[in-house]
Symmetry: C2
Subunit: 139 residues, 2 copies
């Protein structure tokens, strides 16, 4: 954890939040930059809905990606970034427009290779789970 | 393929397109409802960008999901739908705001279990690939 990393600069308001955070309605409910854990609130907007009136699965994937990404980003040093190289999502039940909560963690924090996992909940029920691999790079 | 399935009703303008199609800037360039293949044009909007100024990976996942989903949906009968139960995405290189193209296909078309795959390109280079499993259900 490094308070001068890009994640904490954004969190502290020293850098603007990325556009995708606004699109997904992100609010951080809890972050632990030492353990690599986060709780993130999202808002599924009407524009995310599929023909069945549920949230298109890809937007749930985007929320899970933006849960696991910050869990790792919060642990990085200044000048480091960590692109996701793969993302695996399991869909459990439909989600509707409105609030969702992502709970994410760094499962393995290697010097380069990191394994991440997350759950996405709506009304306290899991709607989707995910794992991802990210690789730490220096800018 | 059934011209009275929900996919073709939307395609023919007999049902409104889903909101997520507008959000992702979807235009169908080619569809084969017998073979289960599609080419889909997308538009990555400024609101999809991450702190590095690239498209957040989750939105690429959403595009891949909305390439594979229609490839299968175009083959369904009226009254059938096919929720995705898992989605696996591999990220190859960064994508920027602007046009992308998805190419998707039904790899295995079982009576219930279907295996799907897709590539997502920008400027003729693959930026991400994906596979998914979907299960055909009757409404």
């Amino acid at each position: 954890m490094d308070r001068n990393s890009f994640f904490w600069k954004i969190f502290d308001g020293r850098l603007p939040p990325p556009p995708c955070a606004d699109t997904l309605g992100i609010e951080f409910a809890a972050i632990d930059g030492e353990r690599g854990t986060v709780e993130v609130n999202f808002e599924a907007k009407p524009g995310f809905l599929n023909p069945a009136g549920n949230v298109q699965g890809g937007f749930l994937a985007a929320m899970l990606d933006d849960t696991m990404g910050p869990a790792l980003a919060a642990t990085l040093a200044a000048g480091e970034f960590a692109p996701t190289v793969n993302l695996n999502v399991q869909f459990h039940r439909p989600a509707i427009a409105g609030p969702l909560k992502g709970i994410g963690r760094v499962v393995l924090r290697g010097r380069e290779i990191c394994q991440l996992s997350a759950e996405l909940l709506q009304s306290d029920k899991i709607v989707a789970t995910a794992t991802a691999t990210a690789i730490i790079r220096k800018a």
